[in-house]
Amino acid sequence: MRRRLARLVFSLPGTLVLMLALFVASIAARQTSAPAPASIPAPAQPTAPIPESVSACLACHEDEAMELAFSDGTAMSLFVDVAAFTRSVHAGQLTCTDCHAKYDDDHPMGTAFESRRAYTLNSYELCKRCHFDTYTRTLESVHYEFLKLGVESAPICTDCHGAHNIADPHEKRAMVSRSCAACHEEVNATYASSVHGHALVEDNNGDVPACADCHTHHQVQLPGTTRFRLNSPETCIRCHGDETLMAKYGISTTVAQTYLADFHGVTASLSKHLTDDQQRIVVTCNDCHGVHDIASPALKGAEAMKATVQQVCSSCHQDAAPTFPAAWLSHYPPSPRNAPLVWAVESMYRFFIPFAVIGLILNLGLHVYRMSAGR
């Protein structure tokens, strides 16, 4: 019986039937197990009924004059703006005690914290109860390194996201940069005047990178390291290598390929995964285009770009002649108009290599044929 079954399964029609059955089963399984499109409950309208547990808190905390005094003499308002909370991303999902867990009806009035910041630092870890993965990422950030060193102003969850008024960070991209600007004011001012920042701030353009798109959101690294530098082309190429995105702005994606194919691009590609001490500085996108002050090369003009390239080349190639930067083809792929010599050499090999290789293979094939058949 078993053998007959095995024979059936391994026979050709048997195999086909089995495969068909598995295929149908896999489709059925996929349909049943497919996660329903993530349903994000629409933020409750300000008119939405307030749960009893919340209104109990509001009985006191709707008082705008309510304050908590700290031991350093400052005070914090304990007023909760209900309207702001009901507009927040957590409205309808969380109630007061989900975060303020220690507080019940007769909670202490006037806990002894030294300052407002001490209170905030003491309570921000509440977020990790739900957002644990995000929280762990922050532990690897340079911001957390500062916090560990005792720098109290290092940013924590609520500094960027707020508390009662948390908005969906995916919808409010401009908010990301504004959050960073709270501390990195100067950088933000430079960024806002760049081609990317201008589009984000003035036109609310969602395509351009905000701070976190290059620096990451929660795992922010120190940008001065060689590793960050050598990975920066990859950061730029995420957008500048995307043809559909670049087509919208009439930007060529060859900027990425031409850099990567260049001598320095090869160095960056082959050493970006190494630890810092094994790397040496190579030229990357930022050196010619800037960092936070990136300008459109088209608006900057060819002459200004050439002058920049000249300066960048000579910062390492001190012996270089003024003509040396012409070795860089300015991201243009070789063509009869741009770099005809390079184009001619390339075209010659592109024709000659397949021609010669196919010819040699045919010759060898014929040789073997004659030896075996014509003997």
Binding site: L260, F263, G265, V266, T267, S269, L270, S271, H273, L274, Q278, R280, H317, D319, A320, A321, T323, F324, P325, A326, A327, W328, L329, P334, A339, L341, V342, V345, E346, Y349, R350, F352, I353, A356, V357, L360, I361, N363, L364, L366, H367, V368, Y369, R370, M371, S372, G374
Partner: protein
């Protein structure tokens, strides 16, 4: 000239020729191993090779040092070859003549079955000559473009800087070409071909079997063993 009664051998390659061949094997392999990963830096194999060589800067150092030794070999070869020819110590057996082109056509006709016998070859057949001259010109291209890439700043002071990317393209494609030729033509032709399989040892030992010489280089054989 001859040995034993059973198998007779003829000296085919001088010690200098054998040393050069061995050196080429080592240098060519080293140059490919350190060079090809730079042609395809995105490939996982390239990253693996470069890491095991101690990083891209170490790999480039090794590539350049090997290149310098290779350049020395090219210069030495040309010097010996030219002085040998000028002094009359060596015969001009490697030069291409009209016969080589007609041999190529006739040999292809033989392979395809349009001729009964293959053409009679001399000391070097047309394939060996084409490969030799390909190697000579390829080596010169690699040495010249290699030095341009080694000292781009110096070149830009003397000549137009567009020669630098042109040299880079040429160095890269010529390397690929040489690699493919050696892979397909030289190893397959000289070692895996039905007559030579598994390996033609004459370039390593310097000797060739007398009957093999008669079969593959009949004109040279006739000249060597002319009836007085």
């Amino acid at each position: 000239m001859t040995r034993k009664n059973t198998v007779e051998y003829v000296v085919r390659f001088s010690r200098w020729a054998r040393v050069q061949h061995a050196a080429i094997i080592v240098l060519f392999t080293l140059l490919l191993v350190t060079g090809l990963p730079q042609k395809w830096p995105g490939a996982a194999a390239s990253v693996w090779i470069v890491d095991h060589l101690g990083g891209i800067f170490a790999a480039r150092w090794l590539h350049r040092m090997t290149g310098i030794v290779f350049s020395g070999l090219v210069v030495a070869h040309l010097t010996v070859a030219i002085t040998g020819l000028l002094s009359g110590r060596t015969k001009p057996t490697m030069f291409l003549g009209k016969k080589d082109f007609s041999d190529a056509i006739n040999n292809l006709r033989y392979y395809a079955g349009y001729a009964e016998v293959p053409p009679k070859f001399g000391r070097y057949d047309y394939r060996q000559k084409f490969e030799y001259w390909g190697l000579i010109f390829g080596s010169i291209v690699m040495v010249v473009t290699g030095f341009i890439l080694y000292f781009p700043g110096t070149l830009a002071r003397l000549l137009p800087a567009e020669l630098i990317p042109a040299a880079k393209v040429m160095h890269s494609y010529e390397a690929l070409f040489a690699f493919l030729i050696v892979l397909i033509w030289h190893i397959a032709g000289a070692h895996l071909a039905p007559e030579s399989f598994p390996i033609d040892t004459s370039i390593f030992t310097g000797r060739i079997r007398k009957d093999k010489l008669k079969h593959e280089h009949p004109l040279e054989y006739e000249e060597l063993f002319k009836e007085p």
